[in-house]
């Protein structure tokens, strides 16, 4: 079974809040001190893909829309077991919205051609939007489902557990299909030093817009309807009153009294 996982490089979401700043144009987030990582939900998508390949055979291909023709990130990402990777880089897609990203990725996936399943993270941890996966499915005319915690392939169909409010839905989808993955049951496996070394030998294909048959008129029809007016860092106005006492017990009792005097309890 051939599985495609879309992957994105993001600023480390675990970085301290103070590391995130907005540039002088009020638009672009700058975070010079924050390192780049594979978006955490994409890790779950990759792990799900690897488990399905290990169980059913076939291969796992990573697809990424990048800003530079630098394939080192994809070599690192393949260390956990993916077989090959594709990197799309073109000025046409720079500063595009989620629909532009989905257009680029769907064109690349169509060019790869042979696939049974596409998995994406439920949302990237930089934009937290959760748009790209579903729009790839629409572009390719595939059935899709979002926020999936578990996949089982049964013949030419798959069963997927979708997280909903207060429970889960068990869905059945025909293949090929696209699923966006959540993290609870798929934690990405570790790569050994040997894995990391051998990943540098795995193939990365770099494609431009013309390589994947993308064109500016079609992109304009399908994407970039949103305008990012500005970005800003939210300011917390909360003043914390730290309750003290001669001992932890006294501080605890004082805290309860403080809540009572504020009529909270």
């Amino acid at each position: 079974m051939n599985i495609i996982a879309t992957v994105k490089q993001v600023p480390d979401p675990e970085a301290p809040a103070g590391a995130f700043r907005i540039g002088p144009d009020d638009r672009v987030m700058v975070s010079p001190t924050v390192s780049s990582v594979l978006s955490p939900y994409d890790e779950s998508a990759v792990e799900a893909a690897l488990q399905l390949r290990d169980a059913h055979g076939g291969k796992v291909s990573l697809v990424c829309l990048g800003t530079e023709p630098d394939d080192s990130f994809l070599h690192e990402a393949m260390a956990t077991g993916a077989d090959e990777a594709y990197l799309v880089v073109d000025d046409m897609f720079q500063n595009g919205d989620a629909f532009a990203t989905a257009y680029a990725l769907s064109k690349a996936i169509a060019k790869i051609g042979e696939y049974d399943l596409i998995v994406c993270g439920r949302q990237a941890s930089d934009t937290d939007a959760g748009v790209v996966g579903s729009v790839i499915a629409e572009s390719l005319g595939l059935p899709s489902a979002t926020v999936i915690r578990k996949i089982e392939v049964v013949g030419d169909k798959l069963n997927a557990e979708r997280v909903i409010e207060d429970g889960i839905e068990v869905l059945e989808l025909p293949l090929p299909a696209l699923l966006t993955m959540t993290s609870e049951l798929y934690t990405l496996r570790y790569a050994s030093v040997m894995d990391i070394m051998s990943a540098s030998e795995k193939p990365v294909t770099i494609w431009s817009a013309s390589d994947i048959g993308a064109d500016a008129v079609e992109l304009d029809d399908l994407a970039n309807r949103s305008i990012l007016r500005k970005q800003f860092i939210p300011v917390s106005q909360t003043q914390c009153e730290v309750i003290g006492g001669d001992s932890a017990q006294e501080a605890a009792a004082n805290l309860a009294q403080a809540l009572r005097s504020r009529k909270v309890i």
Partner: protein
């Protein structure tokens, strides 16, 4: 410019009862409609919607459109997408508000793509630009470390709205409005993704999202046993227990207890964060709480920048006495 007009909200009424999020969307729709000089309509899609119309009007809809079909009882992707696409083409709303829940996450991107329009996902605030009248939707990014202000070049402007961020109107049965049953002529509505089963959690106590008091534990709790203290406190305060992602990822508590940007959004009267460092991603789930209390042994933890009251100390020493004094105050 297009001729689209009006603000439409997608109402959800599983089992014939409108959800809290639906009333929040109506509240938001009403507020921006009054500034922009627009009307608010509610689109109810489901099975057995009689009675739902009056409730939607009582919570602020000028017009209620219903698409009542036995196959639409619960959300399925392709069927709902066909309905929404057709409705937007026929009724041409200027703004479409959808809740950012499991339905909205699945539906809105596909709908916006089909309508060739933009999407502002997971928004926490909606404003109307004074000079141009344009809608500006505010959406957290980078886990809430950054806020983005989004406008749209095309209509309908599709926005998904984060739960518990918008104030509903007071229910007023005296409000009047129109009800229009839509017959879209869509024929049999089927989805390629078929629902085989729904497994719902059973709750013995108070539901986390509805609780007036939430006691949450994080990495600092150190293991599943520590959550017993939190449960006892929650019981005395008539509340529910939540957790940070760190505690869920450690396997100490189930994932449906997670509070945060990808977990539950809560807005209780009192939120007690125990052993939680206070990441932006976690605070996104509880920042609407009226009073936030932090108990943490690390005085440098970011939670103390977001809490109203705090005690610096090990929860094992603080919580038992806090619980005891609370009990005395509640009895007294």
């Amino acid at each position: 410019m297009s001729d689209n007009s009006g603000i439409m909200i997608l109402a959800e009424a599983p089992n014939g009862k409108i959800t809290g999020l639906t009333t929040e969307l109506l509240g938001a729709g009403r507020r921006i409609a009054d500034i922009a000089g627009e009307k608010v309509s509610a689109l109810a899609v489901g099975a057995g919607l009689s009675g739902v119309e009056a409730e939607l009007i009582a919570f602020g809809a000028n017009t209620v459109y219903t698409v009542d079909d036995p196959s639409l009882g619960r959300y399925t992707g392709d069927a709902y997408l066909s309905v929404l696409e057709k409705v937007c083409q026929q009724l041409t709303p200027r703004i479409l508000l959808i809740g950012h829940n499991s339905t909205g996450r699945d539906l809105a991107p596909r709908l916006a793509f089909r309508l060739r329009t933009g999407l502002a996902p997971d928004c926490v605030d909606l404003q109307i630009d004074n000079s141009t009248g344009a809608l500006v939707a505010i959406k957290p990014a980078y886990g809430g470390n950054v806020m983005a202000m989004l406008a749209s070049k095309s209509q309908p402007e599709v926005v998904t709205v984060r739960p518990k961020t918008q104030e509903p109107l007071e229910r007023d049965a005296g409000r009047s409005g129109d009800v229009v049953k839509l017959d879209l002529g869509l024929g049999t509505l089927a989805s390629r993704a078929k629902v085989l089963d729904r497994i719902m959690h059973t709750y013995t106590g108070i539901k986390l999202e509805d609780a007036e008091v939430v006691v949450s534990g994080g990495r600092g709790i150190g293991g599943p046993e520590g959550f017993k203290l939190l449960e006892e406190l929650a019981r005395s305060l008539n509340g529910a227990v939540g957790a940070s992602r760190a505690a869920v990822d450690a396997g100490w508590v189930p994932s449906d207890m997670q509070v945060g940007i990808t977990g539950k959004i809560v807005s209780p009267r009192l939120y007690i964060a125990v052993g939680i460092s206070g990441s932006v991603q976690h605070m996104a789930g509880c920042s609407r709480a009226k009073t936030i209390v932090a108990i943490n042994k690390d005085s440098e933890a970011p939670i103390f920048e977001r809490a109203h009251l705090g005690v610096v100390g090990d929860y094992k020493n603080v919580l038992p006495q806090f619980h005891e004094t609370c009990r005395e105050l509640l009895v007294g």
